[in-house]
Amino acid sequence: MSESMLPTVPVRNEARLSGWFGMWTLIATEASLFVYLLFSYYYLKLQTDQPWPPEGPPRLLLSSVNTFLLLTSSLFVYFGERKLKQDRKKAAVALIAIAIAFGTAFVLIQLKEWSRKSFSISTHLYGSLYFTITGFHLLHVVLGMGMLAVVSAWTAMGYCTKSEHGPVSAAALYWHFVDAVWIFIFGTFFIVPYL
């Protein structure tokens, strides 16, 4: 790069915002948290003599519906982000709002699922693991919904635009992460007991 060739630089580069990098590092550390949670689960499960799960394999209907809801909500977020990039603000806000609604349904169904259990967090080892791990995930879903709510509000208020979609993209990334984590948790608690 010689003296005369120093290029001019734009004020923002939406593809490489610091916040975008920051969100990836947050996801890296949060993903490790779930890896350690599942490590603890399998470590304890493999060494126990208790019947596992103590009530037999869990019923699949509600949790499958829930999985479907959560994964679909990711699609809505994906298209919402895309609409914003196409400068269609209202469509973007609407799509993200649908995703939040799906997320809310997931939370309610999960609480319902919890209330159906005959054991609590302190009944036995499985109960401790089940409520702690799904609880951690539920907390992340709520946090992700909060993020989506804030960025969709910012979009409606005109802060997030076609050229400045960074916050929406970051929140969307986090939401996809939360959904991806659920696949592993769903697999662990609902699929593996049937294998």
Binding site: T8, V11, G22, Y36, S128
Partner: protein, 644 residues
Amino acid sequence: MAEAQAAQIGSIVPGSPEEKRLHEIWEAEPGWRGWLSTTDHKSIGLRYLFTAFFFLIAGGIEALIIRLQLARPNLSLVTPEQYAQLFTMHGLTMIFLYALPILSGFSNYLWPLVLGSRDMAFPRLNAFSYWIFIFAGAFLYASFPLGQAPNDGWFNYVPFSGPVYNVGPNIDVYALGMVLLGLSTTAGAVNFVVTFLRLRAPGMSIPRVPIMTWGTLAASFGNLFAVPAVSLAFFLLWLDRNFGTHFFDIAHDGKALLWQHLFWIFGHPWVYVIVLPAMGIVSMGLPTFCRRPLVGYMPVALSTVATMLLGFEVWVHHMFATGLPSLSLSFFGAASMIISIPSAVATFAWIATIWLGRPVFKVPFLFFAGFIILFVIGGVSGVMTAAVPLDLQLNDTYFVVAHLHYVLLGINVFPVVGGIYYWFPKFSGRMNSEKLGRLAFWIMFIGFNLGFFPMHIAGLLGMPRRIYTYPPNMGWDTVNMVTTAGSFLFALGVLVFVIDVFYSIYKGAKAPINPWDAPSLEWTTPSPPPPYNFAVIPFVGSRYPLWEGRLAEAEGRSRLDEGYLLMNGRETLGTTAMHAEPDAILKMPADSYFPLVASIFISALFVALLLHALIMAITTVALGLLSLVGWLWPRPVLRMEAAA
């Protein structure tokens, strides 16, 4: 609004109106307002250094009381319970509240200066990580005056730390305090990683990065993946203690070894987290006093990264005596031996640098050279304990205590003190006293070896670690007396160092811009640097910008007086991750109270959890989240400035 603001190239003369304007843009508000709201990485870095050093002194005083108790057989200066709390607080203070935070202090202060930037990638997050650190420190110490401090050693093994055997608030304080501190560590790690990827001066491609940044970068990546393990372990323990879960509850098929796994999956990477940045300090400072570049920059950088990666595969060597299958022991024993190879690469690079250079025996050089000796001793005793059969003999004896103190003081404290001497002119604008500095070094070096070397012998004689006292006929009397004498001598050396620092801050000679004739960018800024660091963002053409023309291997030419003029509000330059090509002007945030406010609410949440105060917990969560939203609220002011 994608304004393509053409960044102008130019230069700014000291004392010009442009320089004044930069000053106004970047300066913190005067008085307490600025003090509470500043996001200047230099202020935050110095606060980290001061606070961490304060914890070093607190932990040191605890150690001295321990040493008095052990000076003679059958003493009862403190009660056994007080003794348990003392060694626990000593350990957790040194490991968690001193060793990493002090290095974060260096990195926070120095990174933007050595990378040619005006601040860290997330200045407010930086302030946040400091506030959380100091609140977590206060939290961990809160129960100490009540005689209810953590009392199960810093690695806090179950079942003794569980609800059955430890009924007071002691362990709950430790558990919640560690989760809180983990937030600070993680926030810091995020900041370093993104700063490295994004904020290097144009032209500072990967092979030209100052060597010290590799250590902090590797440590920060390590933290992102390791800290969740310990936060989770402590959180699960807190659930066991407060809500009747069974993770570590052996009676209900929980496993005590799960604690050890989670703790050491974090704990061993952590060892490298608190030594790699310190080794980086040496790799940065030592060559300056050898009047030549570091020998083997590339091997040292690569071995830094390799050490961190291998550091994730050796945790079981803390658990050799727990009855794991011998296949597992062989694997982790071998990995623990292999990890000595990258460490040896760095050691030979330092020795070669001294050998091939023309050493100038200034105070920082003494500390760096002394560090190499201690590092070799600590490294060799580490390889010894990596051998499974020998470890089974040495496990839980004073030999291990000797090893870890050689490693932690040798590789952390000596580089840290050397680093403070090295960058003291930049930190304070003054030169330190060579006389006092030399005195401090020799007292510390002799005191350290006198204090800690005999611990190897005590261990070989079978003295277990953490015992409260011992009978007179064990043959341990002399080694313990010598150790106690050495520890007080070492403390005296630290005192001389502290006196030197305070004396020199007020009475030292004014420091020139580059007193050591060093090669890196921080030495192009005035001592101390102005709030904006660099009047223009420099262009970096080689690994040693200030030694170009003197080195045969000079690759290119840096331009330091002329560069991007960025003065439409707080701005710095974003560059690409590999080649550091100019990519975007980054609008940096203004000072803000939000980091402090958010930290207060988050810390209050942990108090609420400790007290089981449900309403307080809900309130603090709500207020904490609100303050995060306020913190991240889009800033139209900046965009208007940009459009203008």
